[in-house]
C-alpha cells in the first residue's frame, strides 16, 4: 500500500502544501512519504521537501528516472539521508535511453546502491528485462525489480497496452523472470496485473520468481501539487477531492471504498464475472481503469453517477 505525493503536471508543489500533506500523513500514522512526478528531483526545493519529511519522522521513497543534477546527487550521497531515503528507479532498456542518460543513471545508481530498487514499466509487447541483472550486480542494488503495466487513464486519452497484448506479455515475462530468479532477483508487481495473463501451468514460476505475486486492485491514494487527491493514477480523472476535506488517510480510503469495490469485483475482462479467481478474491481482474473506460464509453453519465453514489454511500452528500 502506498500514499503518494504526485506531480503530474508542470505545476510544482509549494512547501506549504508539502507541510499540509506531511501533517496529514502524521495524523494518519502513515510512515512513508512517497514522492512521484513527473520527476520529483527536478523540483527546485526537492532537498527541502525530503528534509521536511525526514524531520517529521517519515521514510522517504523517491520514484525517479535517476537523471539527477549534481546538487541532488551530492545531497542524496550525504550520510543523513542514507538511512531513511529510498529510491525506485524507473529504468528503460539501453536502446530506449538517449544521449548521456546511461552515464547519468549509473552515477545515480552508484549513490543509491542498496537503497535502490529498479522499476520497469512494460508499455510494449516486446521487451527484455535481462539488462537489470548487470545493473543490480554492478551497483549492489536491491535484488528485486518492480514491474508496472501501462494502463489506461479513465476519461483521458493515453497510450496503453490492449487486453489482447497482455496475454503475450505474460508468457514473455515469465520466461524472463525465470532467468532473473536464477540470478537471485525477484519481481515485485505494481497494481493492474491479472492472473489470466499467465497460463495456469506456469503459476509455479509466479510463486518462485516473485515476492508475493498478487493481482489485487486497491485505492492507493495519489495527491497532486494543489492537494487534490484521487484513488490512483489511472483514475486521476475521476473522484477528485480536496485532501484537506479529510481528517486522515483512513477516512479518504473509506470514501473511495464505499463504492469502488462494486466495480473492482467486475474485473476488466469479459470473463471476469465468471472467473473462479475473481469470485475467490484471488484476482481483481486487472486495472479498474480498463473497465471504467468501457463504462464511460457506453454511458455518458457514468462519472456523475459514480460521484453521486460515492458521496451518498460515504455519507458525505449534502
Amino acid at each position: 500500500m502506498r500514499d503518494d505525493l504526485a506531480g503530474h503536471s508542470t505545476d510544482m508543489i509549494s512547501l506549504e502544501n508539502v507541510q499540509t500533506y506531511i501533517d496529514f500523513l502524521v495524523r494518519s500514522n502513515y510512515p512513508a512519504l512517497r514522492l512521484l512526478g513527473g520527476e520529483p528531483t527536478i523540483h527546485p526545493q526537492f532537498t527541502d521537501i525530503v528534509d521536511m519529511g525526514l524531520q517529521a519522522g517519515r521514510n522517504i521513497v523517491v520514484f525517479t528516472n535517476a537523471l539527477w543534477s549534481n546538487r541532488v546527487l551530492e545531497y542524496l550521497a550525504q550520510d543523513r539521508t542514507r538511512a531513511n531515503v529510498k529510491f525506485v528507479v524507473n529504468i528503460h532498456e539501453k536502446k530506449n535511453r538517449h544521449g548521456n542518460e546511461t552515464d547519468r543513471v549509473e552515477k545515480s545508481l552508484a549513490v543509491g546502491g542498496g537503497r535502490t530498487m529498479l522499476g520497469f514499466n512494460i508499455y510494449q509487447r516486446f521487451f527484455n528485462l535481462r539488462f537489470v541483472i548487470d545493473l543490480i550486480n554492478r551497483f549492489k542494488l536491491q535484488r528485486k525489480v518492480r514491474l508496472g503495466l501501462s494502463n489506461p487513464i479513465a476519461g483521458k486519452s493515453n497510450a496503453f497496452l490492449q487486453g489482447k497484448e497482455l496475454y503475450a506479455i505474460g508468457e514473455r515475462l515469465l520466461d524472463q523472470l525465470e532467468i532473473l530468479e536464477q540470478n537471485d532477483i525477484l519481481a515485485e508487481f505494481d497494481c493492474g496485473w491479472q492472473l489470466c495473463m499467465f497460463q495456469e501451468k506456469r503459476y509455479g514460476t509466479l510463486f518462485k520468481a516473485t515476492n508475493n505475486f498478487n493481482a489485487s486492485c486497491i485505492s492507493i491514494i495519489d495527491v497532486g501539487p494543489d492537494l487534490t487527491a484521487w484513488p490512483c493514477f489511472p483514475l486521476s480523472g475521476l473522484l477528485n477531492v480536496k485532501l484537506t476535506d479529510f481528517q486522515n488517510r483512513e477516512e479518504l480510503i473509506r470514501y473511495y471504498d464505499s463504492t469502488l469495490p462494486f466495480l473492482r469485483r467486475l474485473g476488466s475482462t469479459d470473463n471476469c464475472t465468471d472467473c473462479k479467481y475473481g469470485r475467490r478474491d484471488q484476482c481483481s481482474g486487472g486495472c479498474m481503469a480498463r473497465s471504467i473506460r468501457d463504462f464511460m464509453e457506453a454511458d455518458n453519465d457514468f462519472a456523475a453517477k459514480l460521484e453521486r453514489n460515492v458521496e451518498r454511500a460515504s455519507g458525505r452528500s449534502a
Binding site: P261, L266, D270, S291, A298, L306, N309
Partner: protein
C-alpha cells in the same frame, strides 16, 4: 411508452452482450445479445416496435413471438428496477 435507466445503473458492452451494474448496491446483471439490443434501444429512445424490428433483422426469429419476448424482457427490467417509465 419511453424508458430510462434507473439513476444508479450504469452499463458497458461485453462483445455483443451487456453488463449492467447498480452503483448503489453492487448488484450486476448480464444481458445476452437480444437483451442487449433491447437495452440499447430503450436507452436510445426507440419504441418497442422499432426494437422488435432490430431483433428480427439481427437474429433468425422465424416462428418466435419477438414482440411478446421484448415486452416480457422490459417487464423484467422494470421489476428489477433497472429501468423506469418516463
Amino acid at each position: 411508452m419511453a424508458y430510462r435507466s434507473n439513476d444508479d445503473i450504469t452499463w458497458k458492452h461485453q462483445g455483443k452482450e451487456m453488463l449492467l451494474v447498480n452503483l448503489a448496491n453492487g448488484a450486476y446483471f448480464k444481458l445476452d445479445a437480444p437483451s442487449a439490443i433491447i437495452w440499447s434501444g430503450l436507452m436510445d429512445g426507440q419504441s418497442n416496435a422499432e426494437i422488435v424490428e432490430v431483433i428480427k433483422d439481427t437474429f433468425n426469429t422465424q416462428g418466435a413471438d419477438v414482440a411478446g419476448d421484448v415486452k416480457c424482457q422490459i417487464g423484467a427490467m422494470l421489476k428489477e428496477n433497472i429501468i423506469r417509465e418516463v
